[in-house]
Amino acid sequence: MTLHGSRLRALSIATAVTLTAGFALAFFYAKLDADQGFVQKIFYLHVPMAIVALCGFMFGGVMAIQHLRTRDPRYDLRSYVAIHLSLILALGTLVTGAIWARAAWGHWWVWNEPTLVSFLIIFLLYATYQPLRFSIEDRERQSRYASVFAITAGAFVPLNFLAVRLAQAYTHPRVLSTSGGNLPGDMRLAFLVCLAGMALLYVTLWKYEMASKHTSMQLRALKRKLAGDDVPLAPGRSAAPSLHA
C-alpha cells in the first residue's frame, strides 16, 4: 500500500463527489419534511454517520476474529484503525443527534429513549478500547486482549440494534424497517447517496490511516537498519498496534 497510490486518489475523488452530490440532493432535491420542515435535513448526515459507525465497529470485530485465528498483527492493526474511525463517527452521531433533538423535541437528550441510550452505551463501551490497549504494556498480550474486546463489543452491536427494534419507541423514529421505511422516493435517493458517500469516506480515511501507520513503521525499521539496535523497532508504551514485536 502506498500513500500516493492511484487507487487511493481515485477513492478520495469518488468520496468527495458522492458526499457532495448526496448533500446537494438532500438540500436541493429532497422535499421538505411535512412534519419537521427544514430541520429534518440533519437526517441525511446523522443517520448515515450512525449506520457507518456501527458497521465499522462490526468490521473491527471481524478483523479481530481474523487476528485471533491467524495471529497476524496486520489484522490487529486493521481492527484498531476501524474502531478508531468508528469512534470519531459515533461522536459525530451523538453531537448531531443532540442538535437535532434540541430542534425537534426541545431537549438535547431524552433518557427514556432506547435508541439514544443504547447508542451512548455502545459509544462509551468503545471509548474504553484505547485505554484498555494502553494499560497493557506487553504488545502480544495487548493485541490479544484488544481482539477479544473487539469481538465481544462487535457482537454486542447487532444484538443491541435488535433489542432497540423490539423495544417501544417513545420519541426517536424508526428509520429502517423490513418494509423499506416510509421515505418518499426523492428523500430515499438523497439518503442512499449520502449513505454511500459516508461509507466511502470511512473506507478512504481507513486506507489513509493504514497507509500512515505502515509508513511510520517502515521509517522506524529503516532508521533501525541505519542507526543500529539503539533505535527500538516499536515506539514506547502505546495504544497503537505495531507490526514488529
Partner: protein, 75 residues
C-alpha cells in the same frame, strides 16, 4: 426590511450547526494527518543524514521539493 427569519427556513441555525460539527471533525482529522506527515518528513531527513554518515556512503542528494518533482515527472 426583510428579517433573516422571514427569508430563511426555521431552525436553519441547528441544521448549520450539525453540518459544521461534521466539517469540524473532518478538519481536525486533516490537521492531525498533516502533523503526522510533517513528522514523516523529519524522519526521512534524519534517515538521509544517517545514510550520509555511514562509512563508504556516497553523499545522498536531498530530493527536490514536491513542486519540482511533479514538473520533472510531467516531462
Amino acid at each position: 426590511m426583510l428579517l433573516a427569519s422571514d427569508t430563511l427556513p426555521s431552525h436553519t441555525g441547528y441544521v448549520a450547526a450539525a453540518y459544521l460539527v461534521f466539517v469540524a471533525l473532518l478538519l481536525i482529522y486533516v490537521v492531525i494527518m498533516a502533523f503526522k506527515l510533517a513528522r514523516f518528513e523529519r524522519d526521512a531527513t534524519e534517515l538521509v543524514e544517517l545514510a550520509d554518515r555511514r562509512p563508504g556512503a556516497v553523499e545522498a542528494t536531498p530530493p527536490p521539493p514536491a513542486g519540482e518533482r511533479e514538473q520533472v515527472a510531467a516531462r
